[in-house]
């Protein structure tokens, strides 16, 4: 049975949630409302004049096949970043969980990359894969493979995915590791006595018990791939070659802050808001049903 605490009167509960409400209004609702308002205009960059165009900005965007292609790019990119950051993290967490000695050292070492800012991570990976002086591209050249992410879209996508996922593995590792520690030993021991081997135990007991964490990480990682990978893309490819790594958020930046087309940029933000909203609804409606708490 659920326990509910009821307050007498309105004043105290309002006071208690006020900080959260104020923060949400100031940093979320107000900017979001402004973005929606701005998306109806074509303003000049200096804010001297605004021309009302109704849904013109949306019409302009959605009739642009390069903008539509950016949706596909974003989907591929987010999917790859999520997979590349969650699977290795789970693998490492399972290994670290089985360690008896020195797991603290491993844990600390594995968490380190999370402290690296995305833009710095981008520059680091760019150095390694630089077509001229990169260590990795040099070794690849020795093996007879001509690495050129400046012209090859597939390689560019691979590079930004790896650079974005790399630091994220640490974050995911931390959650998986904590979740693994919370799996009751008695259940695993009982299964072991019944003769279940490690992989069998992992698939039938551990993974289902991890599902709340996995679901949480899935949501968080997709949001990360959508919004926070900007620094990596900006430093490594700037959206190129051609448009192979131009994800939606990067386009918001390049149209708004390079092209000074604030109307289109605002309209793109609104579309993005809508997409992420839908995505979260889908995740909670359909995927959460399969999650066991």
């Amino acid at each position: 049975m659920e326990k509910r605490v009821t307050f007498r009167g309105w004043r105290l509960p309002l006071l208690l949630i006020a900080p959260q409400l104020i923060i949400s209004v100031v940093f979320f609702f107000y900017p979001a409302a402004q973005a929606i308002w701005q998306s109806l205009f074509i303003p000049d960059p200096f804010g001297l004049s605004m021309k009302f165009v109704g849904l013109g900005n949306f019409e302009f965007l959605l009739s642009d096949k390069f903008y539509r292609a950016s949706f596909v790019t974003t989907a591929i990119f987010s999917l790859l970043v999520t997979l590349c950051s969650m699977i290795p993290a789970l693998f490492l967490a399972v290994l670290a969980d089985r360690l008896i000695k020195g797991s603290g050292v491993y844990r600390t070492m594995l968490i380190w990359p999370y402290a690296v800012a995305p833009a710095i991570a981008g520059v680091l990976w760019l150095f390694m894969f630089n077509t001229r002086v990169g260590v990795v591209s040099w070794y690849l050249g020795q093996l007879g493979y001509d690495w050129n992410h400046v012209l090859n879209g597939g390689e560019a996508m691979g590079l930004v995915v790896v650079a974005s996922a790399w630091g994220r593995i640490s974050y995911n590792f931390l959650f998986f590791f904590a979740a693994l520690q919370a799996v009751p030993r008695s259940v695993i021991e009982a299964a072991a006595i019944d003769g279940a081997r490690f992989w069998r135990r992992f698939w039938t007991i551990v993974l289902p018990l991890l599902s709340p964490t996995t679901f949480f990480l899935l949501v968080v990682n997709i949001v990360y791939a959508f919004f926070e990978t900007f620094g990596v893309i900006h430093t490594i490819t700037a959206g190129g070659p051609q448009q192979t790594t131009t994800i939606l958020v990067y386009k918001v930046f390049s149209d708004g802050f390079v092209g000074q087309d604030l109307g289109s940029s605002a309209a793109q933000s609104v579309i993005l808001l809508f997409v992420v909203g839908m995505l979260t609804v889908v995740q909670f409606k359909f995927i959460e049903k399969r999650v066991h708490y």
Binding site: D44, F46, G47, K51, F66, R132, P241, V258, G259
Partner: protein, 436 residues
């Protein structure tokens, strides 16, 4: 003893704010780092030392795009600097921002500082001047693309470094020879759209956009998918396919390859001089940008790249007087001459070019006058005055994307340029409707 030192300290501390208030501060935001940043700081220091009424405070605000954005954001927050450096691509944006900028000719007239519009080199000034001849922003750093030659790389490949490279026809033959001689990077470029489309069009006297490249009106359309441009890009695409032209990126990434001695030929701004002369451990030459013999009306003149200084609206007249004095100081021949000699940027006044020539600089540093000659060789035509297109930073991005499709072999030059025109025109229409 100790007390006197302390009280002296207290008095000077108390007085120093008054000393600072006596000078009118002028904020100057620019986009230069490294060697160029030092040279700008030196100019500002010299101005500040030369008089005591005004103090120019220079600050670096990131690369060209970032500096422009910082200026725009500051204007919206009403904290704009007095002087903002804007690259040539942002010219149309600034021109249509009436109410945000104060035209230079007005600032100079009001401040009473020395200013003679005729002293500036026509091809440089034209980019920043209205059709009525009023100068809107002061040209600051202007360069034009030239061909850089690594003589040692030529010799290593068994090719005569003095071979004729004046036309793309002969460059093509030379690239074959370089490749056959074992060069891994016969040709590399910086700023591909600026050099191989914008300057290419001006140099061959073919239009880049309608309405005199946008000078005559906002209802301009791109014409970069013309026969001449497509033929050039087709040749470049073929060279890329054969490993004779190496693509390194959208900006000046290729400079690293050239300065390291890997590449034989490099199309880059004349302002590459500062970096190449200090880093290159090989013999190099500067040659005029090649042209296609028999195409268009070449060689006409090339156009400039670089930045100009815009004065922002919203300050008081004492401060504008300081701005006027500073801009007048920057235009002095000796200041301009040393800037030109140190950086490879073009002198902005005719007199500064004269001072440099008289000092024997061109004889001691052969090739440094190539850019000046190339820009001023012919009276600019409607096709070679420059470009004035809205949203041009974004359009350049589109052109970069489409050029990458050619270099990768995904599109023919015609397909890529047709697509660039369609996409660019859509942005021009948006800019037109925002600024009508």
């Amino acid at each position: 003893m100790k007390r006197t030192t302390l009280s002296a300290l207290a008095i000077t501390t108390a007085l120093s704010p008054f000393a600072a208030y006596a000078e009118t501060e002028v904020q100057f935001w620019h986009a230069f780092t490294g060697r160029l940043g030092e040279l700008v700081a030196a100019q500002v220091d010299e101005f500040n030392a030369s008089q005591s009424d005004y103090k120019v405070v220079q600050s670096h605000k990131g690369n060209y795009s970032e500096t422009l954005n910082a200026g725009i954001a500051a204007f919206r927050a009403q904290e704009q600097p007095h002087i903002l450096m804007v690259f040539e691509v942002g010219t149309a944006t600034m021109m249509s921002a009436k109410g945000a900028t104060k035209p230079v000719f007005e600032v100079m007239a009001e401040s009473g500082a020395e200013f003679n519009p005729d002293a500036y080199i026509g091809a440089v000034k034209g980019y920043y001047t209205t059709t009525d001849g009023d100068m809107l922003s002061l040209p600051f750093n202007s360069s034009t693309p030239v061909l850089w030659v690594n003589r040692d790389a030529f010799e290593a490949a068994g090719v005569d470094p003095d071979t004729d490279l004046s036309t793309w026809q002969s460059v093509g033959a030379t690239l074959d020879a370089l490749k056959a001689g074992g060069s891994s990077c016969p040709l590399v470029t910086a700023w591909q759209s600026w050099i191989h489309l914008e300057n290419f069009s001006a140099y061959h006297d073919v239009p880049f956009a309608s309405k005199d490249n946008g000078f005559a009106g906002l209802d301009t359309e791109l014409m970069l998918n013309g026969e001449a441009q497509v033929a050039h890009l087709t040749a470049m695409g073929d060279w890329a396919k054969d490993g004779k032209f190496i693509y390194t990126g959208r900006r000046n990434e290729g400079g690293a390859n050239f300065r390291a001695g890997e590449c034989a030929l490099f199309t880059e701004s004349s302002a590459g001089y500062a970096g190449i002369s200090s880093e290159a451990k090989f013999d190099f030459d500067v040659r005029p940008l090649p042209y296609w013999e028999g195409v268009g009306n070449g060689p006409q003149n090339t156009i400039i790249g670089g930045a100009s200084l815009w004065v922002m609206e919203g300050h008081d007249s004492a401060e504008y007087k300081g701005v006027g004095e500073f801009l007048s100081f920057l235009s002095k021949s000796d200041i301009q001459a040393s800037w030109h000699q140190n950086t490879g940027y073009l002198p902005i006044t005719v007199a500064a070019g004269g001072v440099t020539r008289d000092a024997g600089f061109y004889e001691k540093n052969p090739g440094t006058d190539v850019a000046v000659i190339q820009m001023t060789a012919n009276e600019p035509t409607a096709n070679s005055k420059g470009l004035r297109l809205g949203s041009f930073d974004q359009i350049r991005g589109i052109i970069d994307e489409e050029l990458e499709a050619i270099w990768a072999g995904d599109k023919t030059a015609q397909e890529a340029m047709d697509s660039a025109k369609a996409r660019g025109d859509a942005l021009l229409r948006r800019f037109e409707s925002a600024n009508r």
